[in-house]
């Protein structure tokens, strides 16, 4: 073999080798990406409708691709049995109470299965386990709901259109508010007043804040009450005494009530005296009679003094009185002398 032939053979060999390298690299990349070269377990989910899911579509868990769809078979009563190949490394994270849901990789992308949920208390899934399936939201149902929403939106915008036209025309209370200039001025004034009030409120709250801070100051009353045990004990004893006084006052009030009741009662002397009107009138007449009698008695006594039989007695009595007055006068006059001597 000539050197030219040899060179040509080597080049062809390199060419073929590189082509094989590209092919093998592609195959291994694909196999790695489709998790074909790693050990997997089979997990089953039974759906009512798989919404176009296909064999080979991905299985996701927490946003990570963990396997592919192995097979899709009709099962039972018009249901679909989906068998998934799931990596053994993900097995420990998927619990028996996890659920499988059919999702979409994007709005127009491939369908896939998303495994989610599951609690730590449940055991990890095993090969051949069946997990609960959540049936996907049908696109037709979605569109139907959207259509209803659209109709509602149209109705709302129609109503809003009527409402705004009425507002613009100044109909109704809010329309009047929006269009009436006087009302607008009033509203402006009201807002100004509200602003002023709010400023005052702020000032008042500041004052209150200062007051409370003073109360909380170390020498303040509230602080002393809260912290000084002596003051507290005194206050406590004062409160106890006040409590006793209140009880005594209550007792006194009770007694007074009883007394007033008795006074109001006409079965006793004081009650009759205070509350019996007939007795009062009798007493009044008696007093009038007494007054009249005493006047007459004075007249009788004056007449008696002029009577010859008793005139001497009265003169004698007058003399004795004069005599006692003179003695008293003398006694009073003599007392300053004795005082000066002393």
């Amino acid at each position: 073999m000539s050197s030219a032939d040899n060179k040509r053979t080597i080049i062809v060999g390199i060419f073929v080798f590189l082509a094989i390298v590209i092919l093998v690299a592609g195959i291994f990349t694909l196999a790695g990406q489709q998790k074909r070269l790693i050990s997997t377990i089979s997990v089953i989910a039974i759906f009512d409708d798989v919404a176009g899911l296909k064999k080979g579509n991905n299985v996701w868990f927490s946003g990570v691709k963990i396997g592919t769809i192995k097979s899709i078979d009709l099962y039972g009563d018009a249901q679909v049995k989906v068998t998934m190949n799931i990596e053994e490394s993900a097995q420990q994270y998927i619990r028996e109470n996890s659920v499988a849901r059919i999702s979409s990789e994007s709005f127009i992308g491939n369908k896939n299965i998303v495994i989610e949920g599951g609690t730590q208390s449940a055991a990890a899934i095993e090969d051949g386990d069946v997990i609960t399936a959540i049936n996907p939201l049908n696109t037709d149902d979605l569109m139907e709901t959207l259509q209803k929403n659209n109709k509602n939106l149209v109705a709302i915008t129609d109503d809003f259109k009527v409402l705004t036209s009425r507002l613009v025309e100044g109909e109704g209370t809010i329309g009047a508010i929006l269009t009436d200039t006087v009302m607008a001025d009033n509203f402006r004034t009201m807002v100004a007043n509200l602003q002023q009030t709010s400023r005052r409120t702020v000032a008042a709250s500041n004052e209150l804040s200062r007051f409370t801070s003073k109360l909380n100051s170390p020498n303040g009353l509230a602080n002393n009450i809260a912290t000084d045990t002596v003051v507290y004990s005194r206050l406590r004893s004062s409160m106890a005494e006040l409590n006793e006084a209140t009880k005594a006052a209550a007792s006194m009030m009770e007694t007074l009530e009883t007394t007033s009741k008795r006074l109001n009662n006409q079965n006793n002397a004081a009650g009759v005296l205070l509350s019996d009107e007939q007795f009062a009138r009798q007493l009044q007449r008696t007093m009038q009679n007494l007054e009249t009698s005493s006047q007459k008695f004075d007249q009788n006594m004056e007449a008696l003094q002029s009577n010859i039989l008793f005139r001497g007695f009265f003169r004698k009595q007058a003399k004795e009185q004069e005599k006692q007055q003179e003695q008293l006068k003398e006694l009073l006059e003599s007392q300053p002398d004795t005082t000066n001597r002393q």
Binding site: D5, R8, F15, V16, A19
Partner: protein, 272 residues
């Protein structure tokens, strides 16, 4: 038998055509093709094996075609990506460009573009070379010198074509994807890792197998058509040109037919 003996104006002495002249010609051609292919499969298994000639033809068909096919594949990758972008951008799905490029290039464009370019370059080359050998009676000379011209000329070229076109398809696919990546990276700032992740996410083993099988069939077709046309050429230098031209046209036509059939078969398998 000359099929043109029954000239108009002369009274036919006996029925010269089984059907019509054109149909008879077509069936004769088909029978000739069948015999040619059958002879290839008969010869390919038995020694002597012309390894040296096969290597030479691999070099001519594979290595010498690489620059042209690589450049074409790279440009096709860029152009296809650029032309596909507006369609996807219309509904905000330019992120799906790598997947689209992957499916288009791996499933169809890689093998098809390689085969068409090879049909143009290799098919015409084989047709012209064997045609000129036929009209200059070199093939007849080989026959009388105890060399099997069919084994030496046809089997070696068909085998080389069958082996090299799949290899060229691998290169074309890879280079086209690189071209697509360049365009996607320029516009969407997608990284190489993300791009190739999405590329391989969109395809399956069936796609790679189908692409490989297709390129083998295309390679066999190009080699076989070129050899048949060249080996059976006649009418002097005019026949050489006709053989070269006919090799390219027939090979391209058959490639499209095969693409259509294989696509149907692969889709049927994919649906199972």
């Amino acid at each position: 038998m000359d099929l043109d003996d029954n000239k108009p104006g002369t009274a036919p002495t006996r029925r010269r055509f089984v059907t019509t002249r054109r149909l008879d010609r077509m069936f004769v051609e088909l029978a000739s093709v069948y015999r040619f292919i059958a002879r290839f499969f008969k010869e390919v298994w038995f020694p002597p094996y012309e390894f040296k000639e096969i290597i030479k033809q691999c070099y001519e068909i594979g290595v010498r075609s690489l620059p042209l096919i690589s450049l074409t594949g790279f440009i096709i990758g860029i152009v296809f990506t650029n032309q596909s972008r507006p369609s996807l951008a219309g509904f905000g799905a330019t992120a799906l460009l790598p997947a689209l490029i992957s499916v288009a290039i791996v499933r169809a464009m890689g093998p098809l573009v390689t085969a068409l370019i090879a049909a143009g370059r290799v098919g015409s080359n084989i047709g012209a070379e064997l045609g000129s050998m036929r009209v200059t009676e070199q093939i007849d000379a080989m026959e009388v010198s105890a060399t099997n011209p069919f084994k030496f000329l046809v089997v070696s070229r068909v085998l080389a074509s069958t082996f090299m076109i799949p290899a060229l398809t691998m290169y074309t696919t890879f280079v086209s994807l690189l071209g697509g990546y360049l365009n996607v990276h320029q516009n969407e700032l997608t990284t190489l890792t993300t791009f190739f992740y999405q590329v391989f996410d969109a395809i399956t083993f069936l796609d790679i197998i189908a692409s490989s099988v297709k390129s083998v069939i295309f390679g066999f077709t190009i080699g076989m058509v070129g050899c048949y046309k060249g080996y059976n050429s006649s009418k002097g230098t005019e026949g050489v040109g006709k053989a070269a031209n006919s090799s390219v046209v027939t090979a391209m036509f058959l490639i499209f037919i095969e693409e259509l059939l294989i696509m149907q078969i692969i889709n049927a398998i994919r649906a199972v």
